[in-house]
Amino acid sequence: MSNEARNGMVLEGLRKTGVTGMFLARLLLACVPAFARPRLIILQIYNAGARSLIIIMLSGLFTGMVLGLQGYQLLQRFGSEEALGAAAAISLLKELGPVLTALLFAGRAGTALTSEIGLMRATDQLTAMAVMAVDPMRYVAAPRFLGGLIAMPLLAAIFSIVGLFGAQLIGVQLMGVDRGVFWSQMQGALGLRDVVEGIVKSLVFGAVLSLIAVNEGYQSQPTAEGVALATTRTVVASSVLTLLLDYVLTAAFL
């Protein structure tokens, strides 16, 4: 690669970082007045949250069931299958709940956000709002960002709860782990710190993923191809960042 091409790429990267940074700053500023219209935020919590419930609950159930099977198989080798409840709870609350919810959120809600905002841009709706003296940052971007931010921890919590039910279903009902032992082991092993770690993770994922989705939609080229590209970028960036941040946050909580 020639020097010039490399310099061009570095410059382009810096420019994009700057544009996103500016967008984030404007978005955060717009969040304060956005609370004056709670109806819009509630609508977006419904869009990003309630409408993702079925996919989240199904995924949570099967993840929990797999945990039940795999966990039982593994723990049985060491003769400690009664620790299944604790193992399932810790892996769900700290890792699988927040991370898998975030990945599903990127595919289900993130893409919807990006393509919706991208199409609003392509059809001049954002410009029309701005010309009507209604800041689209405040009316469109901020409520969607806040909606995603609030919905994510709720979804992650539901994922974990349904997952625990799934693990219990397999471990207790199918494999015959004692019900009382399953739940009491879980209670004993699980500390407040583990729950907090899960909540912090999903809050961070919620903020980052909503920002990516809204930003990509806002910056997308106002064409069919541009919106499609932006939607793809949302999923790719969200997935990679979720896993990267998960490592960073896990390390930070050790």
Binding site: T123, D124, T127, A128, M129, M132, A133
Partner: protein
């Protein structure tokens, strides 16, 4: 009302305007005509403060729009209405809510007043019966009329029309023409119509500007333009392919490019 003075504007080094002068006088319909790609829409963006000129001034209501703060620009925009080419209706709410949108955002009027206001404006564009429809259920002409109702719901002093006739059937076109005239005469709204439909504009415009190559090449009443002996004006008014405005995008010599393709 709007005074564009010696504006220069370029995008990525490509000049759009090189010394543009346009004056919009109160109470008149001003037409801005020109071939596609001469920056007519850009001019509207400059007037509404979405873009700022590289040099020169854009005075709106007597104040330089570039010197205003963000909130002042928003305050100025409340005195303007703009009709977008495709209507730009908000697709997630119905026709009634689209027209009510600026009212709800900018005022605290009670619901009964908003209802009357919106229905009056919808009646003015003949679409009171379509209040419950969603934007996706409207035809192009209807969407534009709803957008017009939305643009006038806050009683603006200036209305900006971006290509209001593009892609309309003759009946819708006639309706839009009549509405523009009506808004101007009945409500006294100063109007700026940007379009390349010369014949239609000629019937309603009080003052016309013809843009080409980044500046105004001719101005006057439509009748004056029609009598002009300038080649550019003549070409545009009669829609001829031959003339100073080139139909072909700049390209290397045709024959040598075709012959060269064999060798390559």
């Amino acid at each position: 009302m709007v005074d564009v003075r010696d504006v220069h504007y370029a995008v990525d080094g490509r000049p759009i305007f090189t010394g543009l002068n346009v004056r919009v006088r109160r109470g008149l319909i001003t037409a801005v005509m020109g071939p596609s790609g001469t920056g007519k829409t850009t001019l509207l963006r400059l007037i509404t403060g979405q873009l700022f000129a590289d040099s020169g001034q854009v005075l709106v209501f007597g104040r330089d729009i570039a010197s205003l703060s963000r909130s002042e620009v928003y305050a100025e925009r409340r005195r303007m209405g703009m009709l977008f080419q495709n209507g730009a209706l908000l697709t997630d709410i119905d026709v009634f809510e689209n027209v009510a949108f600026p009212v709800r955002e900018h005022t605290d009027l009670p619901e009964s007043v908003i209802r009357k206001l919106v229905l009056t404006k919808l009646e003015a564009v003949g679409l009171r019966g379509a209040a419950e429809l969603m934007p996706s259920e409207l035809s192009g002409g209807m969407a534009r009329r709803v957008a017009l109702a939305r643009a006038i719901v806050m009683d603006p002093e200036v209305l900006l029309y971006d290509e209001p006739f593009a892609g309309l059937d003759p009946i819708s076109l006639g309706v839009i023409l009549r509405l523009i005239k009506q808004m101007n005469q009945a409500l006294g709204i100063t109007s700026v119509v940007v379009s390349h439909d010369v014949q239609e504009l000629a019937t309603i415009a009080d003052q016309s500007y013809l843009l080409s190559g980044g500046a105004v090449v001719a101005s006057g009443t439509p009748q004056e333009l029609a009598r002009s002996d300038s080649e550019t004006v003549h070409q545009f008014m009669t829609g001829s392919e031959e003339g100073p405005v080139r139909f072909h995008y700049p390209a290397p010599d045709y024959a040598s490019q075709l012959l060269g393709a064999d060798e390559g």
